[in-house]
Symmetry: C2
Subunit: 426 residues, 2 copies
């Protein structure tokens, strides 16, 4: 996990703390599939407002401690809750309550020649662990999505949000109790001790799925450590390739939007690839627009020959997820070189081409190995809400189980039910 500036001294937790937590989560999870989960989420949404004074007081303590560490204003702001933000979190929870039940899908059913009837039905994972950073709204978001999907949530947020997370989880547990559901369906790993994250990631059979949400450092730690099933999310080194046959005005709008509209997120672009036949027509204008929006540019030698004042770009820049107003620019000889660049440096998140050439678009769609491949659209649309899923747990960058935006359907599993009247195998 990425280091934070000044870590509080780990609270010691007795041996077996996590095991006990996971056993409680498992027991609680059994009640969820048949429970009125929308009613539970409604109670949670209401409880957050009722408990606002306690939650905001706890959050104020986290914020004060963070400020005392000398953390800059933008990061402190990510941590801060307010009545307005709490109301938004409460409303988002009500929206999750109203989504279609991912366990309610009509089963796929068929009958075998021997008369056995086979049904494939959606079932919850059971216990879902969420490991995430900084923003306390994720605590409620992660818990309500897990509950809606019929699973118990075991939450591990940032240590700098621990007081806020305690208050939020206490509120949610109270709401569960009020509607007659086991409070242990939402549990917090209530310690900044990082060993507990490692324990969670090795708790095979006791946690059914772990979803990390955070930066590249967190994701790498999880993938290196985990023996439990994991869905990697959110590392996006995304590219926009401006083809020889691009509508350059449109291409400029796509580049601006994909870089500038919200630079700190995984579906923003980090590198612009430009076909050399349009580089001189395209780059000066877009570079001026990007710079006017505060973007710092890094370029290959050809790009720097066209646009003066760019910093030099090399493998370090091509590989970097800036997550900021910074962009690398590379002039490529042709589509092949663009495809090679993307295959080498992309993170299989979202890749886009701007072109009017049907054949180039089709080749790009076919050959780019990524969760989402876009033609003439901003990479910023890779998003569960934009895709119409009504929720977003994260953007998966793995190929196993779920790829791209994760909605509720992606955090359930299935089982086969086979009904017979005594069939035996010959």
């Amino acid at each position: 996990m990425p280091a934070t500036r000044s870590e509080p001294v780990p609270t010691h937790r007795p041996e077996g703390y996590l095991d006990a937590l996971l056993a409680k989560a498992r027991a609680a999870s059994r009640a969820l599939p048949a429970a009125d989960r929308p009613a539970a989420l409604t109670a949670i949404a209401e409880g957050l407002l009722l408990d606002a004074p306690t939650i905001l007081e706890a959050n104020a303590a986290d914020v004060a401690a963070e400020q005392a560490r000398g953390t800059g204003a933008p990061l402190v702001d990510r941590l801060r809750l307010s009545q307005g933000r709490l109301t938004a979190i409460s409303r988002a929870t009500l929206q999750v309550a109203d989504l279609p039940d991912p366990l309610g899908a009509v089963p796929t059913a068929w009958t075998l020649p021997n008369g056995l009837r086979v049904r494939r039905v959606s079932v919850p994972f059971g216990v879902i662990g969420m490991v995430y950073e900084s923003r306390p709204n994720v605590t409620v978001d992660a818990a309500s999505l897990a509950l809606k999907a019929g699973s118990a949530a075991v939450l591990r947020g940032s240590s700098n949000a621990l007081a806020s997370n305690r208050a939020l989880v206490a509120s949610m547990r109270g709401a569960l109790g009020r509607v007659g559901l086991p409070e242990d369906a939402v549990l917090l790993i209530d310690s900044p001790d990082r060993e507990l994250v490692t324990e969670l990631l090795r708790a095979r059979g006791r946690v059914d799925l772990v979803i990390p949400r955070g930066g590249a450092g967190l994701i790498r730690h999880v993938v290196d450590t985990a023996s439990v099933p994991v869905i990697e999310t959110g590392v996006g080194n995304c590219h926009l390739y401006i083809d020889a046959a691009a509508d350059l005005a449109m291409a400029g709008r796509l580049a601006m939007n994909a870089k500038v509209q919200r630079p700190g997120v995984c579906n923003a672009i980090e590198t612009l690839l430009v076909h050399e036949s349009v580089a001189e027509a395209f780059l000066p204008r877009v570079a001026a627009d990007l710079r006017a929006a505060g973007v710092r540019l890094y370029g290959c030698p050809k790009a720097r020959a066209i646009v003066t004042g760019m910093d030099a770009a090399g493998d370090a820049e091509w590989a970097k997820e800036f997550l900021d107003l910074e962009l690398a620019v590379r002039v490529v000889a042709d589509l092949d070189e663009a495809l090679e660049h993307i295959a080498r440096f992309g993170t299989q998140h979202t890749e886009a081409i701007a072109t009017r050439d049907v054949a180039a678009a089709e080749r790009f769609r076919r050959e780019v190995d990524a969760a989402v491949v876009m033609v003439n659209a901003s990479t910023r649309f890779t998003d569960g809400f934009e895709f119409g899923f009504g929720a977003e747990i994260g953007i998966s960058t793995q190929k196993l189980h779920a790829r791209g935006p994760l909605g509720l359907e992606q955090i359930v599993t299935y089982k086969y039910l086979v009904d017979g009247d005594g069939q035996v195998r010959g």
Copy 2:
């Protein structure tokens, strides 16, 4: 991996051997989605017959070496190929060629309010690693299923089958070359060095999926070691629960079939759970039948009070996958105790109940957490061919990605294609 009696001295492979192999597989994989994969499989099927003399000679060397190690006849037989077996392998390959293309599924498509068109299309994983034990037929089976699914196969079989696997892979590569496909779409990790398995399991981004097929030791090694995506297969501690309301004659047939028809496979039962109200009526007869078929019985105290001469069973027996003519028997007080036993000792493979009680059946279906839950049917039906998938790569015992019998549809992934005309996010 489980130890074999007498391991040949590891062939030294130069540093970078596996990296080079995986790079070749990646390059070859690019040609597969658009290739005539059925024609390639047909050529492979024919090539195995044309190359029979070479393959059988290589296999004879493996068999002789195994016999010289003093290995027992059943294990030697698993290793042995013959003209008949090679013909069966060739026919199975033709059957795979004829299966529906898992990449040919009609995409799910929808249009967003902003006019973006989203399609979800099936795509290959890319490079699939298969790690398996003993039987050389798996070499052809694994390669042909991967190829049919559009992926290159990197194969790692048992060291005692290395000569056979070399000959089989050489034959398959020759066939690929004859139809104009890259031979590197099928590659053998051509060394008994176990470090290469570990390297494969840590080759993130260079192998897209690893499927282990083998015993519990192999699976555990893979899960503990892997940082690449894995589908665990084949560890089955399966139970049959005889309910108070069972048709006892049918229950006896199910128990016999599930234990005796093929005891060495993962979907055979290892423990019989019997409701105490029917134990005296049920157990003596079924115990006599099982013993007549050569089954050794282990029992709890109540079972041993009903059937004399059983060995004592405890946690070790409840947890054991015998994979042989051995069965543990436990008398339980009620359905709750049966469910608790299964939750504690089951491996989430296949669990079955024999009952005429609709409510008991429904509760068993709902509460048992397993890939396949059966009512009044033999657990032996958990099988890709029996389920009508036309193929079986293995039986997944994990919840992520694919659960239960793996057909071709379970070894492809998907991507989203988004088409726009300049949409940007507001």
